[in-house]
Symmetry: C2
Subunit: 253 residues, 2 copies
């Protein structure tokens, strides 16, 4: 448990909810608690702002017995998440926007490591799911070697809605899939906004997202062996797109 990522106590959590600049990953409230005005306000504000909250058995708070949490704890992100709308309405880092969408990556080390590669390659954003992903914590920040502060991290309620919006906003969607039709290097990543969708280590990209995708690509395997680590797989796709863009712009000259 990362204690530099929690804020506790009714007043502190209320202040946090009123502070536009801090991003909350999740809020937990003890089930045994007497509902007073402050708790009601916390619940109402959370609903209004779309902050995920859960009532949990008070035993869950035993690990925090040294602190005066009053039955309310918020897990905060070390960064401010960016809204997809805001991201879409601003300028990209280069001619076209490049995004990674993570569908169910649960290991914070993988998330950190993917963000690091995305930053190195000059990608514009990483989109994660509020419900199906590990969120940005101190561990993610550390594994990313600080890269988390150099890219837009967009946390959404529904990846399906996010992809729908991206497609309407002139993005091509490429999903990585073990049974993909083309090899990942047979798709042309140049001259377009694109989003690469990577799935969870075990279950892959969800069926709905695969249906939405414009391309399903695979990384070829030369062994009767299970798949790549998701952060390595993502790095391979990120830099293949980068290679194509760099080589194409060289040919132009």
């Amino acid at each position: 448990m990362e204690n530099n990522n929690i804020i506790y106590g009714k007043n502190a959590v209320l202040e946090l909810l009123k502070n536009e600049k801090r991003s909350i990953n999740k809020l937990v409230i003890s089930k045994g608690l007497n509902r007073d005005n402050k708790i009601d306000e916390i619940v109402n504000l959370s609903k209004a702002k779309g902050v995920m909250f859960q009532f949990v058995p008070k035993e869950k708070f035993l690990q925090y017995k040294g602190i005066n949490h009053q039955g309310v704890i918020a897990y905060v992100a070390p960064i401010e998440y960016v809204e997809l709308d805001d991201f879409l309405s601003k300028e990209g880092k280069s001619d076209y926007k490049k995004i990674i969408i993570l569908d169910g990556v649960e290991d914070p080390h993988n998330l950190g490591s993917i963000i690091r590669t995305a930053v190195c390659a000059g990608f514009d954003a990483v989109i994660i799911s509020q419900h199906r992903s590990t969120l940005c914590s101190a561990t993610v920040e550390k594994t990313s070697a600080g890269a988390i502060n150099y890219i837009d991290i967009i946390k959404v309620n529904s990846l399906v809605n996010a992809v729908e919006l991206l497609k309407k906003s002139d993005f091509w969607v490429i999903a990585a899939e073990a049974d993909g039709k083309d090899n990942y290097f047979e798709v042309d990543y140049t001259g377009m906004n694109f989003a690469i969708v990577m799935g969870a280590e075990h279950s892959g990209v969800s069926r709905t997202l695969k249906k939405q995708a414009d391309f399903l690509v695979k990384i070829p395997m030369f062994n009767e062996f299970n798949s790549l680590n998701v952060s390595n797989a993502t790095s391979i796709l990120i830099y293949e797109a980068t290679r194509q863009i760099m080589q194409k712009s060289t040919f132009k000259i």
Copy 2:
């Protein structure tokens, strides 16, 4: 500490040293020990077989106080390492042999993850340094998702000698380096045996190995940001070589 990776006690360690099939990462002997015939035999056998051994203060054994180690502990590898000579004299997996050389990768998770990618791409071997690398442990095996059993892992005393031998054996050597002259995708990996040398996360490839290399390549960076995680960087190079080989063989048809 991984207890499934240790063998302890004078007789057990002697048996281990006489067993050709088990690979020993390191042997530690307590400094306070009375030198008897068995200890002498252990030391002599270790020297004869090139097994690294160390005399350490007996306090180092306190963590093992529950077991009857008699002041002698061997750390064994979950696999049998392959000798470079043996590797060179046998058939490769495809027309040309493809190798990864790791110069100072100390994180077992990175080693495991690199082995996993190398296996997925059908590479022939991973070479590690006895002195400048984490060795194959249970953690490496687990992080590799078992891949460690599907590829030759070669542990050498001197990477410089190993690279020298590889060059004499018709291998091209490509070292990754932040200040490399060419981008990693501007080198032709096809139609030749090659070894890709990757350095430690902080210090990179050692100076001598860089001098030995035929090519110094860089992964282009689009941010004033520190480098990629070494397992991601290695994956990017491994699959760029794979892409070139696959696309070249397609063109032939």
